[in-house]
Every structure is written in structure tokens, then in C-alpha cells.
Symmetry: C2
Subunit: 130 residues, 2 copies
């Protein structure tokens, strides 16, 4: 691996570790403010409420909306990130009771792309209605 | 976690482990034949040669085409898979010399969806021209 490539991996790892650390503390909005590019593109599965969101303000609004629907969060678990090129991936799990719903486990694969130390793209993989 | 959910995680883990094991042995085509659903949907980054491929025969053809362009494969590395719901993700890295190109490191995040013990969807994340 060239020095340039090694430096890049370290930078991606640093952003990945920081995102995971902040989300583990429940500081998801801080993570977005600190790490996300203004022109972030965010994708969720086809048919979901926020299939495609562009821009930091939109992503923050989606997160606020989601947290407002939570009645009780029993636990969240976030895996260590795995790094591939400019991308990283991790698993996020929630044991949660949303308003008007039964308590449930939600689990998703998250993929992020980093450019110039900022997250420019995120995509979430989960089964709708699961 | 309910018993049903625990059983599902085990099934996904089993498929994930098998895919990784076969690919580590270089048996990518065996992996496709054994683990892929006939109606697999395969996505690569926008602008890549195979942005969207549908069906097992097409995915096999893409793989054969790719391997035919390899002049020398120095090493491949595949991470342990991480599991989220019906999805899993891993990192694949190659130290490779393609015909007519310099030796290079290629690295990608791979995401797979499993239904009824078969891989029904895969998506690869890498930077074009990297």
C-alpha cells in the first residue's frame, strides 16, 4: 500500500471511529453537525419515509422526527466500523418502543462515504415493516 | 430478542460465513451458484460497467469477465461479515494487476441481503477510477 493510500485509510478510520463514538453516546445530532458535509446525500430503502434526502438540514430534520416518535429507548448497539476505500460500514441496533407500537428490535447495515474528512453519503439497509 | 429473530440472525450469519469462506478460497463462482437466488439484483456504483445486473446468469458473466481481465492476483483479503437484520456487509480487498494497468490495491464495501437462505441482493461501494 502506498503512503498516500495508508494516510487515506487512517483518515476514513478516524471519521468512522468518531461517528460510532458519538452515536454510542446518543449524540447523533452532534455527529451530523461535526462530520457531515453540507451536501450530504442520504438514502433509505425504497418505499421508506425518507428514500432520498439531500443536504445537512434535511438529514437533521429526519433524525429529529425519528427521535420524536421514540417513546422509550431501551438500548442501542453500534458495531465497530469496517473500512473499504473511501467507505465504511457498521451495524446499528435499537431495542426501542415507538409511540403507538410494540417494543421491538430494529437492526440495520449503514454505509458511509467520506471525502475530505466529511461524510458526503450515507445509505441504510433494513427490511421495511420488519 | 425473540426466538424467531435469533433464528433469523443465525441463518444470515451462516450464509455470510459461507460466502466469505468460499470467496477467501477464490471460489467466487461456486459461491454464486450455491448461495445466490435466481433473481439476484446486483448494483455497482453509478457509471460503472455493471451498474445494475438482474439474474444469476448475468452476475456469473460479470464475474467471469472481471477474472478474465486479471493478469496477476497477488492477494485478496475479505473481512469478517457484520450482520444487521436480513443484511450483512464485509470489506473485500485485492492487490491485483489487471491487463494493461499498473498493479493496484482495490477495496470495496459489499452489502448483501438474504431471503430464505439465499442472497437476493448485493451492492458494492467503491470510488470509480480509484
Amino acid at each position: 500500500m502506498s503512503t498516500l493510500e495508508a494516510t487515506k485509510v487512517t483518515e476514513i478510520q478516524k471519521v468512522a471511529n468518531r461517528l460510532v463514538a458519538l452515536c454510542r453516546e446518543g449524540k447523533n445530532l452532534d455527529a451530523i453537525n461535526e462530520l457531515y458535509d453540507d451536501n450530504i446525500v442520504s438514502l433509505e430503502p425504497k418505499g421508506s419515509r425518507h428514500e432520498r434526502t439531500e443536504g445537512k438540514a434535511g438529514v437533521i430534520a429526519n433524525n429529529q422526527e425519528m427521535f420524536q416518535t421514540v417513546e422509550q429507548m431501551f438500548s442501542t448497539t453500534i458495531s465497530e466500523p469496517i473500512i473499504g476505500g473511501n467507505f465504511f460500514s457498521c451495524v446499528m441496533e435499537m431495542d426501542v418502543k415507538m409511540k403507538g407500537m410494540d417494543r421491538m428490535n430494529m437492526s440495520e447495515i449503514c454505509v458511509y462515504e467520506v471525502k475530505n474528512d466529511k461524510i458526503v453519503f450515507e445509505q441504510f439497509f433494513f427490511t421495511m415493516g420488519n
